[in-house]
Subunit: 367 residues, 2 copies
């Protein structure tokens, strides 16, 4: 069986050894005579899966005991509402740094819950860049938190240095780059991430939050939307997505086997460099969307000199077995999502194809 | 490999042929070179899975085109809030029939969203029964809807005739008995169900709702909690739990292969009768919790003459490979959850064990 070169933006590639392990024990997990999906979420076997996932996250991301780790549902999209419902006080203002469509969506939901301010935006530059610390202007009011989107899948940009303001809680949507590189958890008060890029299958949302934040939550929220519910019940207030959490635990084990986040980061940087070098070699042919200092090691975005060439590139790529290279429907162009589980081989094959395609399509005068 | 006799209350048994099919194509779905989990939720392959699931539901439950079918996240617990947020108008009262812990929880969340009334409750009788139509007293106010829990997993009771009031929208939590028997969809304005009992793995929530209900939804709800968001986007507003929906589609195919809901119902009634007959044979030894006219064909609940015998029964059952027979931690006793995918063989084995255990533990004078 030939594995596809999977550059999907999410749900996306999973490590083959993880899939193989899950397949082997799919019907009979740990000699229970049951699939993981058939285990009670209150059984010892599932509790171990959950604890294992939490412990691996603590280890891989160096999460101190002052943080809680939750596995929820609803993706980043539900977090867009939960964050302000829980932490945007009546007299406070929530500050948002806008770096793309996802941060716009986060802001839109926050506006429904209270007062907000745009602390920075690179929208005028078509979201080609990430704001510098100096570009972020916090409002004078009492700030509930500053929200950022750490990686922008659609535009292919990524924060390389996180903003930091004394006494201001930083909240990050890390759906598309969690575990891709070393971070200092202590810079953040809350991190959330849909699992379907670097963590596992869709349907699980990881939340890592500072315990002291819990004191700020107002009473009378819908029980399911109050973080305290899930903290008190160790993510077992209601039936969690058990199989998704199991797959996530296997992915974390795989990350550890690769040498942890440091090793994964080096690998990711190498993979990304193959594609960016190709674009730097032929800047008139492969035109990057992101500014060099803001570009992402997770999503590499570019366009070709014209629509026709872009179309032809995507068509030929598809025929050669590259999956998911079309840019997001809102911006067009091309995008290679090269999350943790995308193997080096796939990036090498894509870089080769990019060179071949240029060779075959550039006019002689341009060479 | 020996399959466990799985009587878990949810997540629960899945049909073996479904697990086998999913295992076989786990790494290479439909010759894509990818797992279902690795497919884009906007790919043709996944769209087909989603459409297939919807079409099978329409066929199996005879759902007319005046209804929408949605696949959401958050389980019944999030529906407890979404239902009143969307359909409980400012000047209206939402009526709840209380038949157990889950309906109490549904009411608790509704109270946070507006005015409510208890239209019926069997709480005083320890939730041994289901109210009759005549027992349901609707408040005089403008009724937003009447909410019922169609099957009560903890107490082992089930509605056999649904209440019906002219002009009153009936909303049902069918998490634990959807697809277990023939129903007339037209009696309901909205049905919701966590998938983890009769439909598939945990992490998917099925919602079936009458289109005309959508006009009642107020503006400015959190986008993810507004049913219209998911209707407009065919459950693809954000990344859905793709693998869960795939498993659900396989379970629906299996239901169809069994002969549809009619055949499943006969099978379920047969399975339940084996256990209830055993209890009727030894009413002093196996004491049913539910009244005869209210008992469930999904969850069979009973206690033994004393705590010690109950403990011993559960211990020996466990040793013999019966899984999940302990009653819910809130009520104790025993519970056999015999959802659609629990095979007849498991119920036969349990009935035999019940007879043997009684034989070995009843005092001679009682025989």
């Amino acid at each position: 069986m030939k594995r596809a070169y999977n550059f999907n933006a999410g749900p996306s590639a999973l490590p083959l050894p993880v899939l193989e392990k899950a397949q082997a024990e799919f019907i009979n997990y740990n000699s229970t005579g049951m699939s993981v999906m058939e285990l009670s979420h209150r059984s010892k076997d599932f509790e171990q899966i959950l604890e294992n996932a939490k412990n691996l996250l603590k280890e891989l991301l160096d999460i101190p005991d002052t943080y809680e780790i939750l596995f929820l549902q609803g993706g980043a999209s539900l977090q867009f509402s939960m964050v302000p419902m829980n932490f945007l006080g009546t007299d406070q203002t929530a500050a948002y740094a806008l770096t793309g469509s996802w941060s716009e969506k986060a802001l839109k939901e926050a506006k429904k819950e209270g007062k907000t301010a745009v602390a920075a935006s690179t929208s005028e530059g078509k979201y080609r860049s990430i704001p510098k610390q100096a570009d972020i202007i916090l409002p004078e009011e009492d700030i509930a938190y500053l929200h950022i989107t750490s990686n922008n899948t659609i535009y292919g940009t990524q924060w390389h240095e996180y903003p930091s303001f004394e006494g201001v809680d930083l909240i990050a949507d890390m759906s598309s780059d969690i575990l891709c590189k070393k971070i200092d958890i202590n810079q953040f008060s809350l991190i959330y991430a849909g699992a379907q890029k670097n963590l596992g299958p869709s349907g699980v949302t990881l939340v890592i939050l500072k315990k002291e934040l819990l004191d700020r939550i107002p009473d009378n929220l819908p029980t399911m939307l109050d973080y305290r519910t899930h903290v008190k019940n160790n993510s077992l207030y209601h039936t969690p997505p058990t199989f998704g959490i199991y797959m996530l635990s296997l992915v974390l084990e795989w990350v550890k086997e690769q040498g942890g986040v440091d090793a994964i980061q080096k690998h990711n940087e190498h993979k990304a460099s193959l594609l960016y070098e190709c674009m730097e070699l032929y800047p008139d042919f492969y035109r990057p969307h992101a500014d060099k200092d803001s570009r992402s090691i997770m999503n590499v975005t570019f366009t070709l000199p014209n629509e026709e060439l872009t179309k032809s590139f995507l068509q030929q790529a598809k025929e050669k077995g590259f999956v998911g290279l079309a840019g997001h429907r809102s911006v067009g162009g091309c995008r290679a999502s090269i999350y943790n589980a995308v193997p080096l081989e796939a990036c090498e094959a894509l870089a080769s194809f990019m060179k071949e395609f240029r060779q075959a399509n550039v006019t002689v005068s341009e060479i």
